[in-house]
Amino acid sequence: MGDARFSDVLSRLGHRLLAGIAVVLGVVTLTFLLLHLAPGDPIVIMLGPSATEAQVAAQRHTLQLDRPVPAQFASWLGRFVRGDWGTSITKGRPVRAILSDAWPATVRLVLLSLILSYLVGLLVGVVQAARSGTRTDTALSIFTVTLFAVPGYWLGLMLVLVFTYWTQVLPAFGAAGLDADYLRGGSWLLDRLRHLILPLTALTLIGIGGAARFVRGAMLETLTQPFITTARAKGLTTRRVVGLHALRNALTPVVILLGLSLPALFSGAVFIEAVFAWPGVGRVLVEAVQARDYPVVMAATAISAALVVAGNMLADILAAWVDPRVRQSA
Protein backbone atom coordinates (compact mmCIF):
# COMPACT_ATOMS: atom_id res chain seq x y z
CA MET A 1 0.00 0.00 0.00
CA GLY A 2 2.62 2.49 1.12
CA ASP A 3 4.97 1.35 -1.62
CA ALA A 4 2.30 1.70 -4.28
CA ARG A 5 1.62 5.28 -3.25
CA PHE A 6 5.33 6.03 -3.23
CA SER A 7 5.75 4.72 -6.77
CA ASP A 8 2.71 6.74 -7.85
CA VAL A 9 4.31 9.87 -6.53
CA LEU A 10 7.57 8.93 -8.22
CA SER A 11 5.97 8.36 -11.60
CA ARG A 12 4.05 11.63 -11.33
CA LEU A 13 7.26 13.42 -10.48
CA GLY A 14 8.87 11.72 -13.46
CA HIS A 15 6.17 13.03 -15.75
CA ARG A 16 6.49 16.51 -14.34
CA LEU A 17 10.25 16.34 -14.77
CA LEU A 18 9.89 15.35 -18.45
CA ALA A 19 7.33 18.11 -19.03
CA GLY A 20 9.65 20.56 -17.28
CA ILE A 21 12.59 19.58 -19.45
CA ALA A 22 10.37 19.98 -22.53
CA VAL A 23 9.44 23.49 -21.39
CA VAL A 24 13.05 24.49 -20.81
CA LEU A 25 13.97 23.09 -24.22
CA GLY A 26 11.08 24.99 -25.80
CA VAL A 27 12.09 28.26 -24.17
CA VAL A 28 15.68 27.83 -25.26
CA THR A 29 14.64 27.06 -28.85
CA LEU A 30 12.32 30.06 -28.91
CA THR A 31 15.04 32.32 -27.55
CA PHE A 32 17.51 31.07 -30.13
CA LEU A 33 15.07 31.69 -32.96
CA LEU A 34 14.18 35.16 -31.66
CA LEU A 35 17.83 36.09 -31.33
CA HIS A 36 18.52 35.11 -34.90
CA LEU A 37 15.35 36.58 -36.36
CA ALA A 38 15.92 39.96 -34.75
CA PRO A 39 17.72 42.77 -36.54
CA GLY A 40 21.05 43.90 -35.13
CA ASP A 41 24.40 42.21 -35.60
CA PRO A 42 26.47 41.31 -32.53
CA ILE A 43 29.66 41.33 -34.61
CA VAL A 44 29.09 44.92 -35.71
CA ILE A 45 28.35 45.91 -32.11
CA MET A 46 31.47 44.09 -30.97
CA LEU A 47 33.91 45.44 -33.54
CA GLY A 48 32.44 48.93 -33.74
CA PRO A 49 31.59 51.08 -36.74
CA SER A 50 35.16 51.36 -38.02
CA ALA A 51 35.52 47.62 -38.76
CA THR A 52 35.92 46.63 -42.40
CA GLU A 53 33.67 44.08 -44.04
CA ALA A 54 36.50 41.58 -44.16
CA GLN A 55 37.09 41.90 -40.43
CA VAL A 56 33.39 41.40 -39.74
CA ALA A 57 33.30 38.31 -41.96
CA ALA A 58 36.41 36.89 -40.33
CA GLN A 59 35.06 37.44 -36.83
CA ARG A 60 31.74 35.93 -37.85
CA HIS A 61 33.55 32.85 -39.08
CA THR A 62 35.61 32.59 -35.89
CA LEU A 63 32.46 32.68 -33.78
CA GLN A 64 30.77 30.24 -36.21
CA LEU A 65 27.91 32.67 -36.71
CA ASP A 66 28.07 32.12 -40.50
CA ARG A 67 26.66 28.61 -40.25
CA PRO A 68 22.97 27.78 -40.81
CA VAL A 69 20.76 28.53 -37.79
CA PRO A 70 19.66 24.91 -37.10
CA ALA A 71 23.28 23.77 -37.17
CA GLN A 72 24.26 26.57 -34.81
CA PHE A 73 21.42 25.61 -32.47
CA ALA A 74 22.31 21.92 -32.50
CA SER A 75 25.94 22.61 -31.75
CA TRP A 76 25.03 25.14 -29.03
CA LEU A 77 22.65 22.67 -27.39
CA GLY A 78 25.22 19.88 -27.51
CA ARG A 79 27.88 22.04 -25.92
CA PHE A 80 25.45 23.49 -23.36
CA VAL A 81 24.38 20.06 -22.14
CA ARG A 82 28.00 19.03 -21.81
CA GLY A 83 28.65 22.11 -19.69
CA ASP A 84 30.46 24.20 -22.27
CA TRP A 85 28.46 27.43 -22.26
CA GLY A 86 30.77 29.39 -24.51
CA THR A 87 32.37 32.78 -24.07
CA SER A 88 30.66 36.13 -23.73
CA ILE A 89 30.93 38.02 -27.01
CA THR A 90 31.18 41.43 -25.38
CA LYS A 91 33.09 40.64 -22.21
CA GLY A 92 35.36 37.86 -23.42
CA ARG A 93 34.80 35.95 -20.15
CA PRO A 94 33.44 32.39 -20.05
CA VAL A 95 29.64 32.47 -19.71
CA ARG A 96 29.78 29.97 -16.88
CA ALA A 97 32.03 32.22 -14.86
CA ILE A 98 29.74 35.22 -15.43
CA LEU A 99 26.64 33.29 -14.40
CA SER A 100 28.23 31.48 -11.48
CA ASP A 101 29.21 34.91 -10.14
CA ALA A 102 25.69 36.19 -10.68
CA TRP A 103 23.25 33.50 -9.65
CA PRO A 104 24.05 33.33 -5.92
CA ALA A 105 23.25 37.04 -5.65
CA THR A 106 19.86 36.55 -7.31
CA VAL A 107 18.98 33.42 -5.35
CA ARG A 108 19.97 35.11 -2.09
CA LEU A 109 17.74 38.08 -2.88
CA VAL A 110 14.77 36.10 -4.23
CA LEU A 111 14.75 33.37 -1.58
CA LEU A 112 15.09 35.77 1.35
CA SER A 113 12.33 37.97 0.02
CA LEU A 114 10.14 34.94 -0.73
CA ILE A 115 10.44 33.77 2.88
CA LEU A 116 9.98 37.23 4.39
CA SER A 117 7.08 38.25 2.18
CA TYR A 118 5.22 35.00 2.85
CA LEU A 119 5.78 35.17 6.60
CA VAL A 120 4.43 38.71 6.75
CA GLY A 121 1.79 37.95 4.10
CA LEU A 122 0.52 34.94 6.05
CA LEU A 123 0.31 36.96 9.24
CA VAL A 124 -1.51 39.88 7.59
CA GLY A 125 -3.86 37.62 5.62
CA VAL A 126 -4.77 35.52 8.67
CA VAL A 127 -5.42 38.60 10.82
CA GLN A 128 -7.61 40.01 8.04
CA ALA A 129 -9.59 36.79 7.65
CA ALA A 130 -10.10 36.51 11.42
CA ARG A 131 -11.31 40.12 11.62
CA SER A 132 -13.08 40.03 8.26
CA GLY A 133 -15.32 43.03 7.67
CA THR A 134 -13.87 45.13 10.51
CA ARG A 135 -11.88 48.35 10.25
CA THR A 136 -8.65 46.43 10.76
CA ASP A 137 -9.51 44.34 7.70
CA THR A 138 -10.27 47.42 5.59
CA ALA A 139 -7.12 49.23 6.68
CA LEU A 140 -4.94 46.19 5.97
CA SER A 141 -6.71 45.72 2.62
CA ILE A 142 -5.79 49.25 1.58
CA PHE A 143 -2.22 48.55 2.67
CA THR A 144 -1.95 45.28 0.74
CA VAL A 145 -3.66 46.49 -2.44
CA THR A 146 -1.28 49.46 -2.48
CA LEU A 147 1.77 47.22 -2.13
CA PHE A 148 0.29 44.96 -4.80
CA ALA A 149 0.00 47.93 -7.17
CA VAL A 150 3.38 49.55 -6.61
CA PRO A 151 5.89 48.76 -9.37
CA GLY A 152 9.04 47.37 -7.78
CA TYR A 153 11.51 49.59 -9.57
CA TRP A 154 9.60 52.74 -8.57
CA LEU A 155 9.38 51.60 -4.95
CA GLY A 156 13.11 50.96 -5.18
CA LEU A 157 13.74 54.49 -6.45
CA MET A 158 11.66 55.98 -3.66
CA LEU A 159 13.58 53.93 -1.06
CA VAL A 160 16.82 55.19 -2.58
CA LEU A 161 15.51 58.74 -2.44
CA VAL A 162 14.59 58.50 1.24
CA PHE A 163 17.32 56.26 2.67
CA THR A 164 20.27 57.10 0.46
CA TYR A 165 19.85 60.69 -0.71
CA TRP A 166 17.85 62.31 2.08
CA THR A 167 18.84 60.51 5.28
CA GLN A 168 22.02 58.94 3.90
CA VAL A 169 21.80 55.87 6.12
CA LEU A 170 21.93 53.04 3.57
CA PRO A 171 23.88 52.38 0.38
CA ALA A 172 21.82 52.04 -2.81
CA PHE A 173 24.11 50.47 -5.37
CA GLY A 174 25.71 47.04 -5.69
CA ALA A 175 26.06 44.16 -3.27
CA ALA A 176 29.17 45.42 -1.49
CA GLY A 177 31.03 48.67 -0.88
CA LEU A 178 34.08 49.79 -2.87
CA ASP A 179 36.28 48.84 0.08
CA ALA A 180 34.74 45.35 0.37
CA ASP A 181 38.04 43.61 -0.46
CA TYR A 182 39.73 45.17 2.56
CA LEU A 183 36.98 44.36 5.05
CA ARG A 184 37.21 41.34 7.34
CA GLY A 185 34.85 39.44 9.62
CA GLY A 186 32.14 41.55 11.22
CA SER A 187 32.59 44.67 9.15
CA TRP A 188 32.54 42.59 5.94
CA LEU A 189 29.24 41.06 7.00
CA LEU A 190 27.84 44.42 8.05
CA ASP A 191 28.78 45.92 4.68
CA ARG A 192 27.02 43.05 2.87
CA LEU A 193 23.91 43.33 5.03
CA ARG A 194 23.68 47.10 4.61
CA HIS A 195 23.77 46.69 0.83
CA LEU A 196 21.15 43.96 1.00
CA ILE A 197 18.58 45.94 2.98
CA LEU A 198 17.14 48.25 0.31
CA PRO A 199 16.78 45.77 -2.59
CA LEU A 200 15.45 43.12 -0.21
CA THR A 201 12.94 45.55 1.30
CA ALA A 202 11.70 46.64 -2.12
CA LEU A 203 11.27 43.07 -3.39
CA THR A 204 9.71 41.88 -0.13
CA LEU A 205 7.22 44.74 0.13
CA ILE A 206 5.83 44.12 -3.35
CA GLY A 207 5.66 40.40 -2.54
CA ILE A 208 3.69 40.97 0.69
CA GLY A 209 0.78 42.54 -1.18
CA GLY A 210 0.13 39.54 -3.40
CA ALA A 211 0.77 36.98 -0.64
CA ALA A 212 -1.52 38.65 1.91
CA ARG A 213 -4.35 39.14 -0.60
CA PHE A 214 -4.16 35.49 -1.55
CA VAL A 215 -3.94 34.19 2.04
CA ARG A 216 -6.95 36.30 3.01
CA GLY A 217 -8.99 34.83 0.14
CA ALA A 218 -7.96 31.25 0.91
CA MET A 219 -8.67 31.69 4.62
CA LEU A 220 -12.10 33.23 4.04
CA GLU A 221 -13.00 30.36 1.73
CA THR A 222 -11.89 27.81 4.35
CA LEU A 223 -13.76 29.61 7.12
CA THR A 224 -17.10 29.04 5.36
CA GLN A 225 -16.67 25.25 5.44
CA PRO A 226 -18.70 22.96 7.74
CA PHE A 227 -15.77 21.68 9.78
CA ILE A 228 -15.06 25.22 10.95
CA THR A 229 -18.66 25.54 12.13
CA THR A 230 -18.18 22.25 13.99
CA ALA A 231 -14.98 23.49 15.59
CA ARG A 232 -16.69 26.70 16.68
CA ALA A 233 -19.70 24.73 17.95
CA LYS A 234 -17.36 22.66 20.10
CA GLY A 235 -16.55 25.90 21.86
CA LEU A 236 -13.00 26.43 20.61
CA THR A 237 -11.69 29.98 20.75
CA THR A 238 -11.57 31.97 17.51
CA ARG A 239 -7.81 32.09 17.82
CA ARG A 240 -7.65 28.32 17.89
CA VAL A 241 -10.18 27.81 15.08
CA VAL A 242 -8.47 30.31 12.79
CA GLY A 243 -4.89 29.60 13.76
CA LEU A 244 -5.08 25.82 13.82
CA HIS A 245 -8.05 24.45 11.88
CA ALA A 246 -8.48 27.01 9.13
CA LEU A 247 -4.84 27.90 8.61
CA ARG A 248 -3.77 24.31 8.13
CA ASN A 249 -6.38 23.84 5.40
CA ALA A 250 -5.77 27.16 3.72
CA LEU A 251 -2.05 26.36 3.49
CA THR A 252 -2.38 24.11 0.43
CA PRO A 253 -3.30 26.85 -2.07
CA VAL A 254 -0.82 29.15 -0.37
CA VAL A 255 2.02 26.67 -0.80
CA ILE A 256 1.08 26.15 -4.44
CA LEU A 257 1.12 29.91 -4.96
CA LEU A 258 4.50 30.06 -3.25
CA GLY A 259 6.01 27.93 -5.99
CA LEU A 260 4.11 29.74 -8.70
CA SER A 261 5.22 33.14 -7.44
CA LEU A 262 8.86 32.20 -7.88
CA PRO A 263 8.82 33.27 -11.56
CA ALA A 264 7.02 36.49 -10.66
CA LEU A 265 9.58 37.22 -7.97
CA PHE A 266 12.35 36.46 -10.42
CA SER A 267 10.74 38.87 -12.88
CA GLY A 268 10.48 41.47 -10.14
CA ALA A 269 14.12 40.85 -9.32
CA VAL A 270 15.09 41.76 -12.89
CA PHE A 271 13.78 45.31 -12.34
CA ILE A 272 15.02 45.54 -8.74
CA GLU A 273 18.48 44.44 -9.82
CA ALA A 274 18.44 47.12 -12.50
CA VAL A 275 17.55 49.82 -9.95
CA PHE A 276 20.08 48.80 -7.30
CA ALA A 277 22.83 47.64 -9.67
CA TRP A 278 22.55 44.30 -7.87
CA PRO A 279 25.03 41.92 -9.53
CA GLY A 280 22.54 39.12 -10.27
CA VAL A 281 21.24 37.09 -13.21
CA GLY A 282 18.59 39.71 -14.02
CA ARG A 283 21.17 42.41 -14.57
CA VAL A 284 23.39 40.07 -16.58
CA LEU A 285 20.38 39.21 -18.74
CA VAL A 286 19.35 42.84 -19.32
CA GLU A 287 22.90 43.85 -20.25
CA ALA A 288 23.38 40.82 -22.48
CA VAL A 289 20.08 41.33 -24.30
CA GLN A 290 20.94 44.95 -24.99
CA ALA A 291 24.39 44.04 -26.30
CA ARG A 292 23.14 41.04 -28.36
CA ASP A 293 25.50 38.83 -26.38
CA TYR A 294 24.07 35.56 -27.73
CA PRO A 295 25.86 33.02 -25.50
CA VAL A 296 25.07 34.93 -22.30
CA VAL A 297 21.42 35.49 -23.27
CA MET A 298 20.97 31.81 -24.12
CA ALA A 299 22.49 30.55 -20.89
CA ALA A 300 20.73 33.13 -18.70
CA THR A 301 17.38 32.31 -20.33
CA ALA A 302 17.92 28.58 -19.88
CA ILE A 303 18.77 29.15 -16.22
CA SER A 304 15.74 31.34 -15.55
CA ALA A 305 13.41 28.91 -17.34
CA ALA A 306 14.87 26.07 -15.29
CA LEU A 307 14.35 28.10 -12.09
CA VAL A 308 10.71 28.70 -12.99
CA VAL A 309 10.07 25.05 -13.81
CA ALA A 310 11.83 23.99 -10.61
CA GLY A 311 9.65 26.43 -8.66
CA ASN A 312 6.48 24.90 -10.08
CA MET A 313 7.66 21.38 -9.29
CA LEU A 314 8.67 22.40 -5.80
CA ALA A 315 5.15 23.79 -5.32
CA ASP A 316 3.66 20.43 -6.31
CA ILE A 317 5.90 18.52 -3.93
CA LEU A 318 5.22 20.92 -1.08
CA ALA A 319 1.47 20.78 -1.75
CA ALA A 320 1.56 16.99 -1.51
CA TRP A 321 3.57 17.30 1.67
CA VAL A 322 1.18 19.65 3.49
CA ASP A 323 -2.05 18.10 2.15
CA PRO A 324 -2.61 14.33 2.26
CA ARG A 325 -5.59 14.72 -0.13
CA VAL A 326 -3.29 15.93 -2.90
CA ARG A 327 -0.96 13.03 -2.18
CA GLN A 328 -3.72 10.47 -2.55
CA SER A 329 -5.32 11.88 -5.66
CA ALA A 330 -2.15 11.01 -7.62
Partner: protein, 281 residues
Amino acid sequence: MSRLLRDRRAAFGGSVLLIVLICAALAPVVTNGDPLSQHDIVATRFVAPLSSDPHGVFHPLGTDRFGRDVWTRLVYGARISMGIGLLAVLVSLVMGVVIGALAGYWRGPVSLALLGLTDFALAVPRVVLLLLLAALWQPSTLLVIAVLGLTGWMGIARLVHGEVRSLAARPFVEGAVALGARRLRVLARHILPNALTPVIVAAALGVGNAISLEAGLSYLGLGVQPPTPSWGNMIQSGRDTLVNAPWVATAPGVALVLVVIACTLLGDALRDVLDPRTRQS
Protein backbone atom coordinates in the same frame (compact mmCIF):
# COMPACT_ATOMS: atom_id res chain seq x y z
CA MET B 1 -25.01 47.30 -11.84
CA SER B 2 -26.54 49.03 -8.84
CA ARG B 3 -24.69 46.54 -6.63
CA LEU B 4 -21.52 47.58 -8.35
CA LEU B 5 -22.21 51.27 -7.79
CA ARG B 6 -22.83 50.66 -4.12
CA ASP B 7 -19.50 48.85 -3.73
CA ARG B 8 -16.98 51.31 -2.32
CA ARG B 9 -14.08 49.61 -4.07
CA ALA B 10 -15.80 49.86 -7.44
CA ALA B 11 -16.77 53.46 -6.78
CA PHE B 12 -13.19 54.42 -5.96
CA GLY B 13 -11.62 52.42 -8.79
CA GLY B 14 -14.19 53.58 -11.31
CA SER B 15 -13.85 57.25 -10.42
CA VAL B 16 -10.05 57.18 -10.51
CA LEU B 17 -10.06 55.54 -13.93
CA LEU B 18 -12.76 57.90 -15.18
CA ILE B 19 -10.85 60.98 -14.02
CA VAL B 20 -7.62 59.73 -15.61
CA LEU B 21 -9.37 58.89 -18.88
CA ILE B 22 -11.17 62.25 -19.00
CA CYS B 23 -7.91 64.12 -18.30
CA ALA B 24 -6.16 62.10 -21.01
CA ALA B 25 -8.95 62.75 -23.50
CA LEU B 26 -9.08 66.46 -22.74
CA ALA B 27 -5.29 66.81 -22.46
CA PRO B 28 -5.04 70.07 -24.45
CA VAL B 29 -7.73 71.62 -22.23
CA VAL B 30 -6.46 70.62 -18.79
CA THR B 31 -2.80 71.42 -19.47
CA ASN B 32 -1.02 74.50 -20.68
CA GLY B 33 0.63 73.45 -23.88
CA ASP B 34 2.86 70.95 -25.49
CA PRO B 35 4.40 68.02 -23.51
CA LEU B 36 7.55 68.35 -25.61
CA SER B 37 7.94 72.12 -25.51
CA GLN B 38 11.20 73.33 -24.01
CA HIS B 39 12.06 76.99 -24.21
CA ASP B 40 14.63 78.79 -22.13
CA ILE B 41 15.82 75.57 -20.50
CA VAL B 42 18.22 77.24 -18.07
CA ALA B 43 15.59 79.48 -16.54
CA THR B 44 12.71 77.01 -16.49
CA ARG B 45 14.33 73.71 -15.51
CA PHE B 46 13.75 72.11 -12.09
CA VAL B 47 10.95 74.49 -11.10
CA ALA B 48 9.51 73.05 -7.88
CA PRO B 49 5.87 71.92 -7.81
CA LEU B 50 3.19 74.53 -7.14
CA SER B 51 5.39 77.43 -8.21
CA SER B 52 5.89 79.62 -11.26
CA ASP B 53 8.95 79.88 -13.49
CA PRO B 54 10.65 83.26 -14.16
CA HIS B 55 8.29 83.80 -17.12
CA GLY B 56 5.30 83.62 -14.80
CA VAL B 57 4.04 80.27 -16.07
CA PHE B 58 2.57 78.21 -13.25
CA HIS B 59 3.69 74.57 -12.95
CA PRO B 60 1.45 72.51 -10.61
CA LEU B 61 3.86 69.56 -10.57
CA GLY B 62 7.06 71.46 -11.39
CA THR B 63 9.31 71.01 -14.41
CA ASP B 64 11.96 68.47 -15.41
CA ARG B 65 15.56 69.07 -16.43
CA PHE B 66 14.54 70.35 -19.85
CA GLY B 67 12.05 72.78 -18.36
CA ARG B 68 9.11 70.69 -19.55
CA ASP B 69 5.96 70.90 -17.45
CA VAL B 70 5.58 67.64 -15.47
CA TRP B 71 1.77 67.91 -15.21
CA THR B 72 1.45 68.31 -18.98
CA ARG B 73 3.72 65.35 -19.60
CA LEU B 74 1.85 63.31 -17.00
CA VAL B 75 -1.48 63.93 -18.74
CA TYR B 76 -0.12 63.24 -22.23
CA GLY B 77 1.73 60.25 -20.78
CA ALA B 78 -1.61 58.96 -19.51
CA ARG B 79 -2.78 58.80 -23.14
CA ILE B 80 0.18 56.59 -24.02
CA SER B 81 0.24 54.46 -20.85
CA MET B 82 -3.53 53.92 -20.59
CA GLY B 83 -3.76 53.35 -24.35
CA ILE B 84 -1.04 50.72 -24.22
CA GLY B 85 -2.64 49.05 -21.19
CA LEU B 86 -6.10 48.89 -22.78
CA LEU B 87 -4.93 47.81 -26.23
CA ALA B 88 -2.52 45.20 -24.86
CA VAL B 89 -5.30 43.68 -22.79
CA LEU B 90 -7.57 43.73 -25.85
CA VAL B 91 -4.98 41.70 -27.75
CA SER B 92 -4.66 39.25 -24.83
CA LEU B 93 -8.43 39.09 -24.52
CA VAL B 94 -9.02 38.20 -28.16
CA MET B 95 -6.23 35.61 -28.19
CA GLY B 96 -7.24 34.15 -24.84
CA VAL B 97 -10.93 33.88 -25.66
CA VAL B 98 -10.36 32.36 -29.11
CA ILE B 99 -7.76 29.85 -27.94
CA GLY B 100 -9.60 29.01 -24.72
CA ALA B 101 -12.94 28.58 -26.49
CA LEU B 102 -11.52 26.41 -29.26
CA ALA B 103 -9.64 24.24 -26.79
CA GLY B 104 -12.68 23.91 -24.57
CA TYR B 105 -15.28 23.17 -27.22
CA TRP B 106 -13.47 21.00 -29.74
CA ARG B 107 -11.90 18.04 -28.01
CA GLY B 108 -9.16 15.98 -29.55
CA PRO B 109 -5.76 16.82 -30.96
CA VAL B 110 -6.54 20.52 -31.58
CA SER B 111 -7.59 20.98 -27.99
CA LEU B 112 -4.56 19.11 -26.70
CA ALA B 113 -2.22 21.17 -28.86
CA LEU B 114 -3.78 24.44 -27.75
CA LEU B 115 -3.69 23.44 -24.09
CA GLY B 116 -0.08 22.37 -24.46
CA LEU B 117 0.74 25.71 -26.05
CA THR B 118 -0.99 27.53 -23.17
CA ASP B 119 0.86 25.55 -20.52
CA PHE B 120 4.12 26.14 -22.31
CA ALA B 121 3.51 29.87 -22.62
CA LEU B 122 2.57 30.03 -18.94
CA ALA B 123 5.84 28.42 -17.96
CA VAL B 124 7.93 30.89 -19.96
CA PRO B 125 9.23 33.62 -17.66
CA ARG B 126 7.26 36.62 -18.94
CA VAL B 127 9.81 39.29 -18.21
CA VAL B 128 12.56 37.34 -19.97
CA LEU B 129 10.39 37.09 -23.08
CA LEU B 130 9.44 40.77 -22.80
CA LEU B 131 13.09 41.74 -22.54
CA LEU B 132 14.03 39.65 -25.55
CA LEU B 133 11.22 40.90 -27.77
CA ALA B 134 11.54 44.51 -26.73
CA ALA B 135 15.32 44.63 -26.87
CA LEU B 136 15.80 42.78 -30.12
CA TRP B 137 13.44 44.84 -32.24
CA GLN B 138 13.43 48.60 -32.58
CA PRO B 139 11.48 49.76 -29.50
CA SER B 140 8.18 51.41 -30.37
CA THR B 141 4.74 51.89 -28.89
CA LEU B 142 3.20 49.36 -31.26
CA LEU B 143 5.81 46.76 -30.36
CA VAL B 144 5.15 47.26 -26.64
CA ILE B 145 1.42 46.68 -27.19
CA ALA B 146 2.07 43.56 -29.25
CA VAL B 147 4.61 42.18 -26.80
CA LEU B 148 2.43 42.76 -23.73
CA GLY B 149 -0.60 41.35 -25.54
CA LEU B 150 1.23 38.27 -26.80
CA THR B 151 2.59 37.44 -23.33
CA GLY B 152 -0.62 38.02 -21.39
CA TRP B 153 -3.30 35.80 -22.92
CA MET B 154 -2.62 32.50 -21.13
CA GLY B 155 -4.51 33.15 -17.93
CA ILE B 156 -7.57 34.23 -19.90
CA ALA B 157 -7.34 31.19 -22.18
CA ARG B 158 -7.24 28.92 -19.12
CA LEU B 159 -10.29 30.61 -17.60
CA VAL B 160 -12.30 30.49 -20.83
CA HIS B 161 -11.31 26.89 -21.43
CA GLY B 162 -12.57 25.83 -18.02
CA GLU B 163 -15.83 27.77 -18.33
CA VAL B 164 -16.56 26.59 -21.86
CA ARG B 165 -15.88 23.00 -20.96
CA SER B 166 -18.30 23.03 -18.04
CA LEU B 167 -20.92 25.04 -19.94
CA ALA B 168 -20.79 22.70 -22.95
CA ALA B 169 -22.18 19.91 -20.80
CA ARG B 170 -25.18 21.94 -19.58
CA PRO B 171 -28.74 21.13 -20.73
CA PHE B 172 -29.30 24.48 -22.48
CA VAL B 173 -26.34 23.83 -24.74
CA GLU B 174 -27.56 20.32 -25.48
CA GLY B 175 -30.91 21.91 -26.29
CA ALA B 176 -29.35 24.31 -28.77
CA VAL B 177 -27.43 21.45 -30.40
CA ALA B 178 -30.61 19.34 -30.54
CA LEU B 179 -32.40 22.20 -32.31
CA GLY B 180 -29.81 21.91 -35.04
CA ALA B 181 -27.72 25.00 -34.36
CA ARG B 182 -24.30 24.88 -35.93
CA ARG B 183 -21.38 24.33 -33.56
CA LEU B 184 -19.83 27.72 -34.12
CA ARG B 185 -23.19 29.38 -33.47
CA VAL B 186 -23.68 27.37 -30.28
CA LEU B 187 -20.23 28.44 -29.13
CA ALA B 188 -20.63 32.11 -30.02
CA ARG B 189 -24.26 32.69 -29.04
CA HIS B 190 -24.91 30.26 -26.21
CA ILE B 191 -21.66 29.36 -24.50
CA LEU B 192 -19.33 32.35 -24.72
CA PRO B 193 -21.72 34.99 -23.34
CA ASN B 194 -22.05 32.84 -20.22
CA ALA B 195 -18.32 32.28 -19.94
CA LEU B 196 -17.27 35.91 -19.93
CA THR B 197 -17.67 36.77 -16.24
CA PRO B 198 -14.21 35.67 -15.07
CA VAL B 199 -12.78 37.13 -18.28
CA ILE B 200 -14.05 40.62 -17.42
CA VAL B 201 -12.41 40.37 -14.00
CA ALA B 202 -9.17 39.11 -15.47
CA ALA B 203 -9.22 41.93 -18.00
CA ALA B 204 -9.67 44.58 -15.31
CA LEU B 205 -6.68 43.18 -13.41
CA GLY B 206 -4.76 42.77 -16.67
CA VAL B 207 -5.01 46.45 -17.59
CA GLY B 208 -3.27 47.45 -14.37
CA ASN B 209 -0.64 44.80 -14.87
CA ALA B 210 0.00 45.83 -18.48
CA ILE B 211 0.38 49.51 -17.57
CA SER B 212 2.81 48.55 -14.84
CA LEU B 213 4.84 46.31 -17.16
CA GLU B 214 4.91 48.96 -19.90
CA ALA B 215 6.37 51.35 -17.35
CA GLY B 216 8.90 48.68 -16.39
CA LEU B 217 10.00 48.20 -19.99
CA SER B 218 10.16 51.95 -20.59
CA TYR B 219 12.13 52.24 -17.37
CA LEU B 220 14.75 49.86 -18.80
CA GLY B 221 14.74 51.96 -21.98
CA LEU B 222 13.03 49.21 -23.98
CA GLY B 223 9.54 50.65 -24.16
CA VAL B 224 8.11 53.92 -25.39
CA GLN B 225 10.99 56.06 -26.59
CA PRO B 226 11.59 59.65 -25.45
CA PRO B 227 10.63 62.38 -26.11
CA THR B 228 7.13 60.81 -26.30
CA PRO B 229 6.05 60.83 -22.66
CA SER B 230 4.93 57.60 -21.01
CA TRP B 231 4.78 57.13 -17.26
CA GLY B 232 7.59 54.60 -17.46
CA ASN B 233 10.07 56.73 -19.35
CA MET B 234 9.13 59.71 -17.17
CA ILE B 235 10.13 57.68 -14.10
CA GLN B 236 13.30 56.68 -15.91
CA SER B 237 14.28 60.25 -16.76
CA GLY B 238 13.34 61.31 -13.23
CA ARG B 239 15.76 58.75 -11.84
CA ASP B 240 18.75 60.75 -13.07
CA THR B 241 17.52 63.89 -11.33
CA LEU B 242 16.27 62.19 -8.18
CA VAL B 243 18.41 64.42 -5.94
CA ASN B 244 17.69 67.77 -7.59
CA ALA B 245 14.08 67.19 -8.57
CA PRO B 246 12.47 64.19 -6.86
CA TRP B 247 9.02 65.25 -8.13
CA VAL B 248 9.88 64.27 -11.72
CA ALA B 249 10.01 60.55 -10.81
CA THR B 250 7.44 60.75 -8.00
CA ALA B 251 4.50 62.18 -9.96
CA PRO B 252 4.24 59.47 -12.67
CA GLY B 253 4.88 56.79 -10.04
CA VAL B 254 2.00 57.98 -7.88
CA ALA B 255 -0.25 58.17 -10.96
CA LEU B 256 0.78 54.64 -11.92
CA VAL B 257 0.12 53.27 -8.42
CA LEU B 258 -3.30 54.96 -8.29
CA VAL B 259 -4.34 53.54 -11.66
CA VAL B 260 -3.16 50.03 -10.82
CA ILE B 261 -4.96 50.19 -7.44
CA ALA B 262 -8.08 51.38 -9.25
CA CYS B 263 -7.92 48.48 -11.72
CA THR B 264 -7.33 45.96 -8.92
CA LEU B 265 -10.20 47.24 -6.76
CA LEU B 266 -12.53 47.39 -9.75
CA GLY B 267 -11.56 43.82 -10.64
CA ASP B 268 -12.14 42.63 -7.05
CA ALA B 269 -15.52 44.35 -6.89
CA LEU B 270 -16.57 43.00 -10.29
CA ARG B 271 -15.65 39.49 -9.22
CA ASP B 272 -17.70 39.72 -6.05
CA VAL B 273 -20.69 41.22 -7.84
CA LEU B 274 -20.61 38.95 -10.87
CA ASP B 275 -19.88 35.70 -9.08
CA PRO B 276 -23.15 34.32 -7.70
CA ARG B 277 -21.33 32.11 -5.22
CA THR B 278 -19.73 34.97 -3.31
CA ARG B 279 -22.92 37.04 -3.69
CA GLN B 280 -24.87 34.63 -1.55
CA SER B 281 -22.36 34.49 1.26
